[in-house]
Symmetry: C2
Subunit: 295 residues, 2 copies
């Protein structure tokens, strides 16, 4: 349903900007993005602390800017909550919000009443001296590089649901995600040619598939090259969590000139979809969550 609506909105607005996570406003040398978190849709109030909710809000938005290659700089945050919300909730939410990345400034927003918690944050990244990505930029022959461990957050969530508190690194990966600001900066300042970059907040496969679809190419991936923490591999079907588990807030990019310290996991080829160890996933497969067939 959402895709259909977005198509409708695009045609109504007749805007060249809607499509990537961020809109690139060249005249102002900034990118902007806005993301919302709705109670009972994106989180369950009783299952997340206000501190973690603040972190998640910041992580989602900062990660969008990282995917563009810009420098996360300013954020505004609207928080709507029931009128009986305790002061401590608000305090901890904002503590979480500012804990993710110390260079970002919260410069405004509003606070309103609502039946449920609703958060919408808007973020601005600076583009000066940076090469800005687009999902449409993947070119045949480019290397696919990745940053961040994958599967850790989904495994951490699974453990939390079973009331486990360790392994600590996996729990932390889920509760305190860190957007890839350093990797983003490295790509945006070392790459001089057009490149595609996306975050893996909706899953690694989703990110790969989005780039493949919007650039009209095939991404040929060697699964064994994907960085995975050893604790993740201790659980059944761990490969599914690596490819389809979300909220790792890693980055993937297709670039011409990887440096020695980058993890190359594959190559951009002619075709369409994502090839993992020889098995093809079409955009439709990914949309329909056909991941159950992977392992």
């Amino acid at each position: 349903m959402e895709k259909e609506f977005i198509k409708l909105i695009k045609s109504t607005l007749n805007s060249e900007y809607i499509g990537d996570d961020c809109a690139y406003l060249k005249d102002l040398e900034i990118v902007v993005s806005q993301d919302s978190l709705v109670e009972d849709v994106h989180f369950i109030k009783d299952k997340i602390s206000p501190y973690s909710l603040g972190r998640k809000t910041a992580a989602v938005n900062i990660s969008d800017i990282c995917a563009s290659g810009a420098d996360p700089a300013y954020m505004t945050v609207s928080l709507s909550a029931p009128s009986n919300t305790p002061k401590s909730f608000i305090k901890k939410f904002y503590d979480g919000l500012i804990s993710v990345y110390d260079k970002i400034k919260i410069v405004g927003g509003d606070l309103t009443k609502a039946d449920k918690i609703y958060i919408s944050a808007s973020i601005i990244g600076k583009t000066q001296d940076r090469n800005i990505s687009s999902r449409k930029n993947a070119q045949i022959g480019q290397k696919v590089v990745i940053s961040g461990f994958h599967g850790s957050s989904a495994t951490g969530l699974m453990l939390l649901k079973n009331s486990k508190t360790e392994p600590e690194n996996l729990i932390k990966a889920h509760l305190e995600p860190k957007p890839q600001t350093d990797f983003s900066k490295k790509i945006a300042t070392t790459q001089k040619t057009p490149y595609a970059m996306i975050d893996t907040s909706d899953g690694l496969m989703d990110g790969l598939s989005q780039i493949a679809e919007q650039s009209d190419v095939l991404l040929d991936i060697d699964f064994s090259k994907i960085p995975v923490e050893k604790e993740v591999k201790a659980f059944d079907n761990w490969e599914e969590r690596v490819l389809f588990g979300g909220e790792d807030y890693g980055l993937i990019a297709t670039i011409d000139n990887p440096t020695d310290d980058m993890n190359v996991i594959g190559e951009v080829k002619k075709g369409s979809g994502v090839l993992i160890n020889g098995r093809l996933f079409s955009a439709k497969d990914v949309e329909n969550n056909s991941y159950k067939h992977f392992t």
Copy 2:
């Protein structure tokens, strides 16, 4: 309650930006603002058309930028709505959104599910070649100028509640408010000294009181100078609607050099509060809605 929460947020964020409607980001030569509209808090779904809701969303946000003196340029909009929301609702909402001011571009946002309708819009204004206002800038001796008719929107709303459809100009004032982009530009480009400006979306008295309080001055106003449409005066207690009725989206400013075509309604003096025809309203009076005693 909200004031206490905002104080808490300010102290948590330790931010110099929170206070005016817009945050002025000097390094980027922009102002930014974010405002939300929540179903059953800011509007009743059955009482407003999706087109009017789109207009209201745009008007609220564009008016915030106008109050700063900046040039409204880009907007992102997050819309959350129940999954059974018809396509026609979305279409009409966006039609309304783009109908308010043809120079603003909608460049992003997101669309999510929610139990109720929740809208949050973020807006960017350009500050190049413009003198930017602050509510703290009112100086003793400055003139108070006003733009737009007041009381029209509140009278229009009253008529709509009584199922009336005329006088048309009052109904239209409520359903199709127009932010004061021309007046804002004139102030920001002709005034070379610091000035205060605010919109009257929460009422004319509220705007006057905010400037008086934050600049620590008295605003001495001659009620008879406030532009009021003659149809407004046909209803009992119309003066209350002029002073306290909201959503006219006019502008008031305190400036050193009004031009001949500006409506001067008063002067900035030593003291505190707002003096209307010799009657003093303190900030507390205005906060506590003591307006019932005016007429």
